[in-house]
C-alpha cells in the first residue's frame, strides 16, 4: 500500500511515516500543497492523509483538487482546528474519514483498515483469536458456533486490540478509542480494566484467554 502524507508539521509527518513504514506501508511526505500536487501527478496512492491546515493553500481546496488527480485513493483528513464545519465540509468533498489532532497512530491505522475493509466489499472478515473467532462486519465473537454476548464497548475494545495484536496498548490509547473525545475529567479511570475483566470473564467461561495479556504498569496486549 502506498501512502501520501500531506502535513506541514514535520515532526508529526515523520512519526506517521515511521509508524506506517513499520506496519508495512510505503510513504511519501509532502510538507506543502505544492509538493503534494507534484507527488500526486507522478504516482498513484492508496491512501492520502491530508492535514487541512497547510501553509500555502486551504486544505479543502487541496482535497478537491486531489480528488480529481487521484480518484482511486482513499482520503483521511486531519484537522487541528477542531471545527465541526471543517469535518463536515471535508466529508462532503469526499473524504473517507477524519481525525482530530492529537490522534493516536493506532487509531489512524485502524481507520485506514476500516476504509480498506469497507472499500474491498468483503462480506466476511473473520479473525481467528485462539479458540475464538471475531467477525468484524457482523460484530460478533464466536466460540465454535456459539456466539458470545459482548457489549458494544467490549466488542470495540476487543477488535481494536486484535487489529493491533502483538503490540502493547496503553490505557490511554484504548480509552481514547472507545470513548473518543468525551470530556469527563476522569483520566485515571479504571474503566478499561473493568471492560477487560468482563471480557475475560465472559470469554473465559468458554475457553482459554491466555492471549489477552496484562502488561504491568502499561496496559494490555493480545499475543497471537
Amino acid at each position: 500500500m502506498r501512502i501520501l502524507i500531506i502535513e506541514d508539521e514535520r515532526g508529526m509527518a515523520l512519526e506517521m511515516e515511521d509508524f506506517l513504514n513499520k506496519s508495512g506501508y510505503v510513504c511519501d511526505l509532502a510538507f506543502t500543497a505544492k509538493k503534494a500536487s507534484q507527488f500526486m501527478d507522478d504516482a498513484a496512492y492508496d491512501f492520502i492523509l491530508l492535514d487541512l491546515g497547510l501553509p500555502d493553500k486551504d486544505g479543502l481546496i487541496v482535497l478537491d483538487q486531489a480528488k480529481q488527480s487521484c480518484p482511486g485513493a482513499s482520503y483521511i483528513i486531519i484537522t487541528a482546528r477542531g471545527r465541526v464545519e471543517d469535518k463536515i465540509k471535508g466529508l462532503d468533498l469526499g473524504a473517507d474519514d477524519y481525525l482530530s489532532k492529537p490522534f493516536s497512530l493506532l487509531e489512524l491505522q485502524s481507520r485506514m483498515q476500516a476504509i480498506t475493509r469497507r472499500k474491498s466489499g468483503l462480506k466476511e472478515s473473520q479473525i481467528e483469536l485462539g479458540d475464538f473467532s471475531l467477525c468484524l462486519n457482523r460484530r460478533v465473537v464466536k466460540y465454535g458456533e456459539q456466539e458470545i454476548d459482548l457489549s458494544r464497548k467490549e466488542f470495540d475494545l476487543l477488535s481494536y486490540m486484535v487489529l493491533h495484536k502483538n503490540r502493547p496498548l496503553t490505557r490511554l490509547q484504548l480509552s481514547e478509542h472507545i470513548w473518543g473525545n468525551l470530556s469527563d475529567d476522569d483520566y485515571d479511570s479504571n474503566f478499561i480494566d473493568v471492560h477487560i475483566k468482563n471480557i475475560r470473564k465472559k470469554m473465559g467461561s468458554y475457553g482459554d484467554t491466555e492471549w489477552l495479556q496484562t502488561i504491568r504498569g502499561v496496559g494490555y496486549k493480545i499475543k497471537l
Binding site: E15, K22, G53, P102, L172, L182, D184, G217
Partner: protein
C-alpha cells in the same frame, strides 16, 4: 416608563397645572384690574370736572345753588358738588355706601376738597360696585376659553413635535437594541436624524457593536488558533511515544513511556475541556436537535453499567419515553448528563444507588434529578463546585476539576438551571431544570 410617555405626561400635567393656576387667579386678577381701572376713570372724570369749572366757572354746575347732584338713570354713577363751611373728609378714594333717592348702594367714591373764589367745595364722583364688576364674568369666561383653546393647541403641537423628535430614538432602539442578534454580522445602517445627540448615540452604539463583534471574532479565532497550536505538539508527543512503545522490548522503558503517556492524557483532557468550555461560551454549537431523553439516558447507563457493576452500584432511571427536549445540542446534552452520571458513580459508595428521576414543577418547567448515595459535598464547598479547577479533597488527583464546569457551561448555553443539594456523607442530588418551552411530548 417610555420617554415618549414621560414627556407626554409631563407636558399634559404641566399645562393642566398652569391652566388651573390661571383659573384660580383669574377672578381676583380681573377684579383688581376693574378696581384700578375704576379708580383711574374716577380721576379722569375729576379732571374733566375741574377743566369745566376752570373754563366755565363753578356756576356752570351750581347755577347759583350751594349744591349740585346728578346721577345716571339706574344710579350707577353719580356726581355731587357741595359748598362747605369746613372740610368734612380729607381727599380720598373710598368704597362706601351712599343713599340716593331712597336707594342705598355701595359706591367707589372719589372725594376731593377744593377752594373756589374763597369758598370751600367738596366734589364726590361715585360708581356702583355692581357696575364695576359687571364685566368680570364674561371677561373671565372669554379669557378661560381662550386659555383652554391655547392649552389644547400647544399640547397637540407639543405631543406631535415630541413624537417627531423621538422617532429617530425609536428607530435606534429598534435597529440597534431590539432586532439584532449577537454576534452582529449584518451591516448596521446608521439612523438618519438632524438631532446631533441621537446621531452621536447611534454612532457610539454602532462602534460599540462593531467592537464587540470584532472582539468576539478575535476570541473565536484565538480558540481555534490555540487549539491548533496546543494540539499539534501534543499530537507529536503522543505519536513519538507510540513509536517508542512499538520499538522497545525493555519493560522499564515501556512502563516509563506508558506513565508519560498517561500524563499526556491528562494534559489532553485539560486542553480539550478548556476548549470545549470556550467553544460553548463562544456559542459555536448549534441548538437545532430534538433530543429524546429516555434513549439518551438509557444509552448512557447501559454504557456505564460495567463500571457500576464493578462498584456494585444499582441505578434506576424513571424517564418516560415520550419526553423530548427541543432546541438542544445532542452531543452537549449527552456530555452534561454523562458528567453528572460519572460523578454519581465516582463519588458513590460500594453497594450504593443512583436514581435518575423526573417531574414537572408547578410552573411547567421540567426537572431531571440525579441522586446518589455517595460521600456528599461539604456545605462550605457546595457554592464552588462549578468553579474551574476546583477540586474537592475527596476527588484527589483523579479529577482535573473541569467536569462540573463543563456541566455548567452546557447548562447556561441551553438556558437550563442547575440545583445541587447535598448532605455530607449521605449523598448529593443534582437537579437539571429545563424550561417549559424546550419540553415536548411525542407519540411513541
Amino acid at each position: 416608563m417610555k420617554l415618549l410617555t414621560k414627556l407626554t405626561l409631563f407636558s399634559t400635567v404641566s399645562k393642566a397645572v398652569i391652566a388651573l393656576l390661571f383659573v384660580l387667579l383669574l377672578p381676583s386678577m380681573v377684579e383688581r384690574v376693574a378696581f384700578n381701572y375704576t379708580n383711574y376713570l374716577l380721576k379722569q372724570q375729576e379732571k374733566k370736572v375741574f377743566a369745566t369749572i376752570k373754563k366755565n366757572g363753578i356756576d356752570y354746575y351750581l347755577e347759583g345753588d350751594s349744591t349740585y347732584g346728578s346721577y345716571t338713570m339706574l344710579k350707577e354713577e353719580y356726581i355731587s358738588l357741595e359748598r362747605n363751611k369746613l372740610l368734612l373728609t380729607p381727599d380720598t378714594l373710598v368704597t362706601s355706601k351712599r343713599m340716593i333717592e331712597g336707594d342705598t348702594l355701595v359706591y367707589r367714591v372719589l372725594i376731593r376738597n377744593f377752594e373756589y373764589n374763597g369758598n370751600a367745595y367738596t366734589l364726590e364722583i361715585g360708581k356702583t360696585l355692581a357696575s364695576i364688576n359687571q364685566y368680570n364674568r364674561p371677561l373671565q369666561r372669554i379669557a378661560l376659553s381662550v386659555l383652554l383653546i391655547l392649552v389644547v393647541l400647544t399640547l397637540v403641537m407639543d405631543l406631535g413635535f415630541t413624537q417627531v423628535l423621538l422617532k429617530p430614538l425609536k428607530r435606534i432602539i429598534r435597529s440597534k437594541l431590539d432586532s439584532p442578534k449577537f454576534p452582529y454580522n449584518e451591516k448596521l445602517e446608521p439612523v438618519i436624524t438632524s438631532t446631533t445627540d441621537f446621531r452621536s448615540l447611534d454612532e457610539a452604539l454602532i462602534n460599540l457593536m462593531h467592537k464587540i463583534t470584532d472582539d468576539f471574532e478575535r476570541e473565536r479565532a484565538f480558540t481555534s488558533n490555540a487549539s491548533h497550536e496546543l494540539m499539534t505538539p501534543l499530537g507529536i508527543l503522543q505519536n513519538k511515544m507510540e513509536n517508542i512503545l512499538l520499538s522497545t522490548q525493555d519493560a522499564d522503558v515501556l512502563e516509563k513511556i506508558s506513565a508519560m503517556m498517561k500524563t499526556l492524557g491528562r494534559l489532553k483532557k485539560i486542553v480539550n475541556a478548556l476548549l470545549l468550555i470556550s467553544r460553548i461560551e463562544n456559542r459555536q454549537y448549534s441548538r437545532q436537535d430534538v433530543v429524546a431523553l429516555s434513549p439518551l439516558l438509557s444509552e448512557m447507563t447501559e454504557e456505564l453499567q460495567p463500571l457500576m457493576d464493578d462498584e456494585e452500584i444499582s441505578c434506576t432511571t424513571n424517564i418516560p419515553g415520550n419526553i423530548v427536549i427541543k432546541q438542544a445540542n445532542h452531543d452537549l446534552l449527552f456530555q452534561l448528563f454523562y458528567n453528572l452520571l460519572t460523578n454519581a458513580i465516582r463519588y458513590n459508595k460500594k453497594d450504593g444507588t443512583i436514581a435518575v428521576d423526573e417531574h414537572f414543577m408547578a410552573d411547567g418547567n421540567y426537572v431531571i434529578t440525579i441522586k446518589d448515595t455517595g460521600i456528599g459535598i461539604p456545605e462550605n464547598v457546595l457554592p464552588h463546585i462549578f468553579d474551574r479547577f476546583r477540586k474537592s479533597a475527596s476527588s484527589g488527583s483523579n479529577s482535573n476539576g473541569l467536569g462540573l464546569s463543563i456541566v455548567k457551561s452546557i447548562a447556561e448555553f441551553h438556558d437550563l438551571e442547575l440545583n445541587v443539594s447535598s448532605v455530607n456523607g449521605q449523598g448529593s442530588s443534582f437537579a437539571v431544570i429545563i424550561p417549559q418551552a424546550m419540553i415536548d411530548r411525542v407519540e411513541r
